[in-house]
C-alpha cells in the first residue's frame, strides 16, 4: 500500500551548524522563542548572523509551555505585523509547536486550529518558510509534521500532523542545548526514546521509519546517561540531538501509539512535563502490548537486540526491553510512577476519569498494536500510580 516519507530538505548538525544561516535567502526573520531561552542569548546569536547579512529581525519571546490556541494567535498576529518571510523557532517542543501553528494562521487565517488535520493541503510557504533550532533533544519537532496545541477552554491537547508543516531547515547546534537542566535533559531524552519505540510498533510503521528508530534507540541508551551526567559534554549533547531528530523522523512518518495517548492526557490534566509523562507511560505500554500482541512482541524483541539483549524467546526479550527502559529512567532520574513524580493520590483519583477520557480522544491510540477499551486504560493508570508492572 502506498505511503510517503517526509523530512525537511536540509538538516545542519554539529558544532557551529547555525552558520548555515549565512546561506539562507530572505529579508525579514521573525524569531519565536520563550523568555528563558531568550535570556540565554541563543536568539541573539542567530540574530547576529542574520543582521550581518542585512536581515531585519524581530524576536518574539512570549511562547508558553504547552501552547494554547490564544498564545498561537498572538504569535501569528505579531508575525503578520512584522511581515516575516522567514520564521525561526528557537526552543523546545512548545516553542516549535507555537511557531508551526502560528505559521499556519499567518498564511491561512481562515483555518480553525481545532480542525487542523492531516488531510487538507494547507498551501504554506506563500509568505514564509520555517527554520527550527531545538534547544532540547527530545521533541524532534524540527523535522516532524506534528504539532500539539491546547484548547483554551478545556485544556485538552490537540495533536495532529500535516505534511505542509515539516520545517524547511532544521539546525542541530549542540551548544544550544548545554544549558538544559539535568532533569529536562532526562525527560526530553525519554520523549525521544518514546517516539522511536512507539513508531516501531505503530500499525503505521514502515521500513524507512524503522531504520531511523533502530539507530535512535541505540543512541539514546548510549548517550542520554552521558548528557545527563555531564551537561557540558557537547559530543553527548550533539549525539542526543541527532537521536531525537532520527526519532522525530521516525514517528513523524509512522506515528506514535498508546504511550503518547496516556502522556498527552497526563500533561493536559496533571500538568506533567511532556517527556516525563510519555516516558513514564512507555514501559507500562510495552508490557501491556507484549501481553496480547504477537506483532508487538516481535518488534520490541528486535529493539531489545539493538541494545544488547541476547534472549532468544521474543516475549522474554520484549519484557526485558521494558525492564531496561525502567533502568535507564532510574539512571537518568526520570520518574517511573505517578508516586515518584510526586503526584498526590487524591489529585490522581480526582482526575482519573478525565485522564481516561482525554486518552480515549487522542488519535494515537488507533495506531497502537493492541486494541482495548477504556477500562484497560483506567487499569494501566492505576498500575502506573505505584509503579506496578502491567500483568494483564
Amino acid at each position: 500500500m502506498s505511503w510517503e516519507f517526509t523530512v525537511p530538505p536540509k538538516i545542519a548538525f554539529g558544532e557551529d551548524s547555525i552558520e548555515v544561516l549565512e546561506t539562507f535567502q530572505g529579508k525579514s526573520a521573525f524569531i519565536i522563542t520563550d523568555g528563558m531561552v531568550n535570556s540565554l542569548g541563543y536568539p541573539d546569536r542567530v540574530a547576529k548572523i542574520l543582521s550581518d547579512n542585512r536581515w531585519n529581525i524581530a524576536i518574539w519571546d512570549c511562547a508558553e509551555p504547552d501552547p494554547k490556541v490564544s498564545n498561537v494567535r498572538d504569535a501569528a498576529e505579531a508575525m503578520r505585523a512584522f511581515e516575516a518571510d522567514t520564521i525561526i523557532a528557537i526552543g523546545g517542543g512548545s516553542v516549535m509547536d507555537t511557531a508551526k501553528a502560528a505559521w499556519v494562521l499567518y498564511e491561512r487565517p481562515d483555518i480553525d486550529l481545532a480542525a487542523l488535520n492531516p488531510f487538507e493541503e494547507l498551501g504554506l510557504r506563500k509568505k514564509a518558510r520555517l527554520i527550527c533550532i531545538p534547544t532540547t533533544a527530545g521533541t524532534g519537532s524540527e523535522v516532524t509534521k506534528a504539532v500539539v496545541i491546547r484548547d483554551d477552554e478545556t485544556g485538552r491537547k490537540m495533536a495532529t500532523i500535516n505534511t505542509d508543516m515539516v520545517p524547511d531547515l532544521a539546525i542541530l547546534e549542540p551548544s544550544f542545548t548545554k544549558d538544559l537542566p539535568k532533569s529536562l535533559t532526562a525527560y526530553t531524552g525519554m520523549d525521544a526514546l518514546t517516539h522511536a519505540v512507539e513508531a516501531f510498533v505503530s500499525t503505521w510503521k514502515n521500513d524507512f521509519s524503522d531504520a531511523c528508530t533502530l539507530k535512535a534507540v541505540q543512541m539514546v541508551f548510549e548517550w542520554l546517561p552521558k548528557a545527563v551526567e555531564n551537561p557540558d559534554d557537547l559530543e553527548a549533547r550533539g549525539k542526543m540531538l541527532v537521536a531525537a531528530n532520527l526519532a522525530g523522523m521516525s514517528f513523524s512518518n509512522s506515528q506514535v501509539a498508546l504511550g503518547h495517548s496516556l502522556g498527552h492526557s497526563m500533561g493536559a490534566v496533571l500538568r506533567l512535563q511532556h517527556g516525563l509523562a510519555v516516558g513514564m507511560a512507555l514501559p507500562y505500554t510495552i508490557e501491556f502490548n507484549t501481553n496480547d500482541s504477537d506483532e508487538a512482541v516481535k518488534n520490541y524483541a528486535e529493539l531489545a537486540r539493538v541494545i544488547g539483549v541476547t534472549l532468544k524467546n521474543p516475549k522474554r526479550a520484549a519484557k526485558k526491553f521494558a525492564e531496561m527502559v525502567r533502568e535507564l529512567m532510574d539512571q537518568v532520574g526520570s520518574p517511573t510512577s505517578f508516586k515518584a513524580a510526586k503526584v498526590k493520590k487524591k489529585d490522581f483519583k480526582a482526575n482519573l476519569d478525565k485522564l481516561v477520557d482525554f486518552s480515549m480522544q487522542d488519535a494515537a491510540i488507533t495506531m497502537n498494536p493492541r486494541n482495548f477499551e477504556s477500562s484497560a486504560l483506567r487499569k494501566i493508570y492505576e498500575y502506573m500510580y505505584d509503579g506496578t508492572p502491567i500483568d494483564f
Partner: protein, 140 residues
Amino acid sequence: MGDDKLEFPSDEWVEKYVEVVNSSKAYEDAAHDWEGDFIFVVTPDGEHVKEPMRLYIDLWHGKCRAARMATPDDDAEFTYEGPLKNWKLLFDKKIDPIKGLMQRKFKLGKGDMGKIMRYTKAAMELVNATTLVPTKWPDE
C-alpha cells in the same frame, strides 16, 4: 457459505451491520458521547459501480439509532466516500479509516474534521464491526 453473504450496500447488509454495531461494547465505549450522522458513499468506478451508492447511518451515544440505504435527498453531518476497491480494503483492514484519508483512498466530503479526530478509536470500531457482517461485493 456464499449464499449467506449479504450484498453490500443493501438494506439487508445495513440491517445486519446495525445489529453488530449495537452489540459492540468496544464501539459503545469509544463513542459513548458521539452525536452525528454519516452518509457513506461508494463512488462510481465505471465498471462495477455505475452510480453512487449511498448508505445513511445515524450514530448516537455509542449506538446506531437509524440506518438505511440513502436516497439522493438524504443529508448528514458527515460524508465519507471512496471507490468500491477501497471499501474492500477497508473492510479487510488492509487500510484504516484515518490512514485511508491520508492515502487519498477516501475523502471526507463534508463534516468537521476536528470532531472526527477526537473519535478515531470509534471509527476503528465501526470498521471492526464490518468484519462481522458476511459481505458480498458488487463485483463478486
